[in-house]
């Protein structure tokens, strides 16, 4: 499994895909956080990063599908999937390797943003006056959100040989998983079970972790979420050859 993981990661890093998607992610998030007046932290006047943490999920909806769209789609189109499957590796190992490699790339995208935390803590008055608990919780929340989106992306990539379709499907699924349940819960017919419907969505759990309190229920939610999508991937790849 390590061999496949290493190959996946190196192929990200040796192609432009990784640098372009991560570069654009960092560019857009910096512009929105520090330069554009409507969303700028400097205009906002409070030394906190909550604006950043509510923005990133929307960027992830495009960033993560862009990273994951090729994982199975390209291999199946190029025929290299046949090469991979006939090696003594199980399908689970292949899926796990691809999932983890994409997740590591998501981590690479998040790491440079730690600079924002440092900047904000320097800008606080008095210096260092930042709610670090909330920031750590939010980063953990972002990582878990990223892991959920990655599992969606891997799943969507297994559906088709066409990378564009994989991208669109996974962006759509990510958006629905993040926001869709909140909106759906507002339907009049569903108002009696509103809290139940909301609990299916990622947003509810993401916000809960972002408060800086790690609830095992939220953790369990994210782990189950990834497991379900990876299991669906296994189901699809097992039947489609």
């Amino acid at each position: 499994m390590y061999a496949v993981f290493k190959r996946e990661l190196f192929s990200f890093l040796s192609s432009m895909v990784a640098y372009i998607t991560i570069g654009i992610f960092l560019l857009v998030s910096s512009l929105l956080l520090w330069f554009f007046p409507d969303t700028s932290l400097l205009e906002y006047g409070y030394a906190e990063l909550s604006g950043f943490f509510s923005l990133v999920p929307y960027l992830f909806m495009f960033l993560i599908p862009a990273i994951t769209m090729r994982s199975f789609a390209e291999e199946r189109r190029e025929g290299t999937y046949e090469l991979l499957v006939t090696k003594p590796i199980t399908l689970w190992q292949i899926i796990a390797a691809k999932y983890l490699a994409s997740l590591v790339l998501v981590l690479f995208a998040l790491m440079p943003t730690l600079v924002y935390w440092y900047s904000i803590s320097k800008l606080g008055f008095p210096e260092g006056n930042v709610d670090s608990g909330a920031v750590i919780g939010s980063y953990l929340g972002l990582f878990l959100l990223g892991s959920a989106f990655t599992s969606i992306g891997i799943f969507a990539s297994a559906l088709t040989k066409n990378q564009v379709i994989a991208f669109v499907v996974s962006a759509g699924l990510c958006a629905f998983a993040f926001l869709g349940f909140d909106f759906t819960s507002q339907l009049i017919a569903l108002q009696k079970i509103e809290t139940l419907v909301v609990a299916f969505g990622i947003n509810e759990h993401y916000i809960s972790i972002s408060r800086g309190v790690l609830d095992t229920r939220d953790l369990l939610y994210f782990i189950t979420f990834s497991a379900v999508f990876l299991w669906c991937t296994r189901l699809i790849m097992g039947g489609k050859k």
Binding site: A3, T80, T86
Partner: protein, 235 residues
């Protein structure tokens, strides 16, 4: 018996791509798998290598049933799929190291050097696979198939699209490998069969129509050319 196939079938809806075929292959012999396009050659090879699950029947590779002991069986198989799919963005050595890692080989870098020499890739070993000509890509494909020194080598049209010089080289290499391994190759080229194969299986519409040694098949058809025999059996 390194390959033993019993009643192997693959059905797509009502169409029978491979219809209950049985055969065996022995070490030290090269088995030519012939048939018109769409006869089920590739499908059979894909089932032998564990890429496709058979609808019915089973294939045994070195005593391990491919559908139930897949991982164990795959360790004994070297496979070159049709059209030689390769990771074009990888370097030759990087790719061979990856394949070696997948087989969990020890002393890998020495083994990579060895197969590069064996398949004649030395002048191109520092290039990206995407930059290689078709002939050299074919050699990379062969190198990845033999890197773990498998007992069974399954090659799906290993010589399609090569120029005459490359053909001779690759055939010589396959012949050499066939001395102590069980080799199954599929091809349309009759001269190739006469040049390298010991045994022949002709398959048509998913069924085996001939299974004999090269001499045997010629004798039963009064020494007419292999091409005529092929046309007679598969038309």
């Amino acid at each position: 018996m390194s390959i033993s196939v019993k009643n192997l079938s693959k059905h797509y809806d009502k169409q029978k791509a491979v219809d209950a075929i049985s055969f065996e292959a022995k070490p030290g012999r090269i088995l030519g798998f012939l048939g018109p396009n769409g006869a089920g050659k590739s499908t059979t090879m894909r089932m032998l290598t564990g890429y496709l699950d058979p609808t019915l029947g089973e294939a045994e590779i070195c005593g391990r049933i491919i559908s139930t002991q897949a991982i164990e069986a795959k360790k004994h198989i070297g496979y070159l799929p049709e059209n030689t799919p390769l990771y074009l963005d990888m370097y030759v050595k990087e790719f061979l190291n990856f394949v070696g890692d997948a087989y969990q080989l020890s002393n890998l870098s020495a083994r990579v050097e060895e197969v590069i020499k064996q398949v004649g890739l030395t002048p191109e070993q520092h290039k990206k696979i995407g930059m290689l000509s078709k002939g050299y890509r074919q050699r990379v494909g062969l190198a990845q198939a033999i890197i773990h020194n498998p007992d069974v080598l399954i090659l799906d049209e290993p010589t399609s699209g090569l120029d005459p010089n490359q053909l001779v080289d690759i055939r010589a290499l396959i012949k050499e490998l066939g001395k102590n391994k069980t080799v199954v190759i599929s091809t349309h080229i009759m001269q190739e069969v006469e040049a390298i194969c010991d045994d022949i299986i002709i398959i048509s519409k998913g069924k085996i129509v001939a299974n004999d040694t090269l001499e045997g098949i010629k004798n039963t058809h009064q020494n007419s050319s292999l091409e005529d025999i092929f046309r007679k059996l598969t038309a």
